[in-house]
């Protein structure tokens, strides 16, 4: 056991901070915010999401708004995904890359229409990358003088409701039925007497939606959803469960599977790059990797036994040669055994048997298809 590191650094608080504390959440510093890592137990919060629904405060994620003529062209230049053909109500997953094809962030972009018929684009970025992405965008704004760029993060809160009962239960609660959205669609509603963005997106492998609401409305809305789903087994869930859920769903996490040294093709995210329809930053480098083939690829591993392999562990061939590294790993509460994702040398990626060096001890592991968990389709 080690001691908690006392720190005098101050952290930002989300609009739900007081609620988390009153619910007894264990708060930890994360990406400049103090965030709940768990309330009672990571495993029970994980299971609530798989069996009923879980509520996540994801207000720490950055919300960047682009208004005005040229917004689409600007985003077309910055993202691996084409934005000019994104219809109103569409949401797309893509990446912001540098000229070398290194991933600066993975993002969601939504095309929204307000009740007064004006249109804008909302870019949701990782909390840890928000400042970097804002700085990356700024110099490009000179070329698009009619674009208004604003960071909406601190004026708003973001709540994710994820799980098999999320839609059914919230139908009763909202004046707009979120299940009318298809997967990866979003719209603005005047829900809760105030404008809110509802999108059918998420980061757990379950069906569900994400809400962007005004900061001052966050606690009321959070409590309403929790109350509506209480008998069904809804639970608030912290960052701990969010991580085990996204690992089971094999969703990459920035700083783990993704960083500036990784290109989208190597990360297995070639589907989120439109390479042939326009110029964008990093396109030539990404196209070159695609033609030549990536040097390393992301794979899934099942470590033998109960000891989890964690991020940073070396992955070895059965001949004892180091061929890669674990990028995320831990126990899978749904499957009941450890799972891990790794980046490995492409020459070894087709092997079925590996070894993992877990802090000095070698343990066998078998390659498996990703994701580790896929929800049953209705």
């Amino acid at each position: 056991m080690s001691q908690a590191d006392p720190s005098s650094q101050t952290y930002a608080q989300t609009p739900l901070d007081a609620w988390h504390r009153s619910a007894g959440a264990k708060m930890v510093p994360f990406a400049g915010y103090e965030m709940p890592i768990q309330y009672e137990s990571i495993v029970s919060e994980h299971q609530a999401c798989r069996n009923a629904a879980a509520l996540f405060d994801v207000s720490h994620m950055g919300r960047l708004r682009f208004d005005g003529e040229g917004s689409e062209d600007l985003l077309d230049r910055l993202l691996t995904r084409r934005v000019t053909d994104l219809p109103i109500g569409g949401v797309r997953y893509g990446m912001v890359c540098n000229e070398e094809g290194g991933i600066l962030d993975d993002v969601l972009v939504s095309h929204l229409k307000t009740p007064s018929e004006s249109r804008y684009h909302l870019l949701v970025v990782n909390a840890s990358n928000r400042a970097k992405i804002v700085e990356w965008i700024k110099p490009h704004l000179d070329d698009f003088p009619k674009v208004t760029f604003s960071d909406r993060t601190e004026l708003t809160a973001m709540i994710a409701v994820q799980g098999p009962l999320a839609m059914e239960t919230c139908k009763k609660l909202f004046s707009f039925d979120p299940s009318r959205l298809k997967y990866y669609q979003a719209r603005i509603t005047d829900q809760f007497s105030k404008p809110a963005i509802v999108s059918r997106t998420g980061y757990t492998g379950e069906d569900g939606f994400e809400l962007v609401v005004r900061a001052e409305e966050a606690t009321r809305i959070w409590e309403n959803i929790l109350l509506a789903g209480r008998d069904a087994g809804f639970a608030p869930a912290g960052l701990g469960a969010r991580d085990t859920l996204r690992m089971e769903a094999a969703m990459p996490l920035y700083g783990h599977e993704l960083d500036e040294s990784v290109d989208p093709i190597s990360a297995g995210l070639g589907f989120a790059c439109n390479l042939d329809d326009r110029e964008f930053i990093g396109r030539d480098a990404i196209s070159a990797v695609k033609s030549a083939g990536p040097a390393r690829v992301r794979i899934g591993l099942l470590p033998e036994g109960r000891r989890p392999a964690r991020e940073g562990c070396d992955v070895l061939s059965t001949h004892g040669q180091v061929v890669g590294k674990i990028t995320s790993g831990g126990p899978s509460p749904t499957l009941g055994h450890p799972i891990a994702m790794a980046m490995v040398d492409v020459k070894h990626a087709e092997a079925t048997e590996f070894e993992i060096d877990i802090r000095g001890k070698r343990s066998p592991a078998t390659r498996t298809k990703l994701p580790f968990y896929r929800r049953a389709k209705k």
Binding site: M1, I37, G240, R306, R307, G330, R359
Partner: protein, 133 residues
Amino acid sequence: MSRDKSKLLYAETHEWVDVAEQGGQKIATIGISGFALEQLNDLVYMELPEVGKTIDAGEEFGEVESVKAVSPLYSPVGGEVVEVHAELPDNLEKLNDDPYDFGWIVKLKIDDESALGNLMDFAAYEKQCAESG
């Protein structure tokens, strides 16, 4: 057998020690505190040392893993491992309910008693826990 947590010694790193005479030898039984277990939550794995291994005071002798993280276990005293609680790793869910009896982890034959002087009594340990919140 029922160990009284208020009569044990504690390390800053949250291990407890119970020292007893056995055949003219001082034997230290080591576990982790209820406070620490509450903080850890959702345990999934424990790695024990091998019997016969010699460990220095303050040295890592094993690790306990929760869903989220790995925590090393540090030996509050030095000595030779004479027994390990082999049933524990397969029954980690019981550890939280009974950290001071079922939850013992290893027994060491103490080779240097001076390290005991660095440990805290229950009152001092409780104070540390209260301060770390």
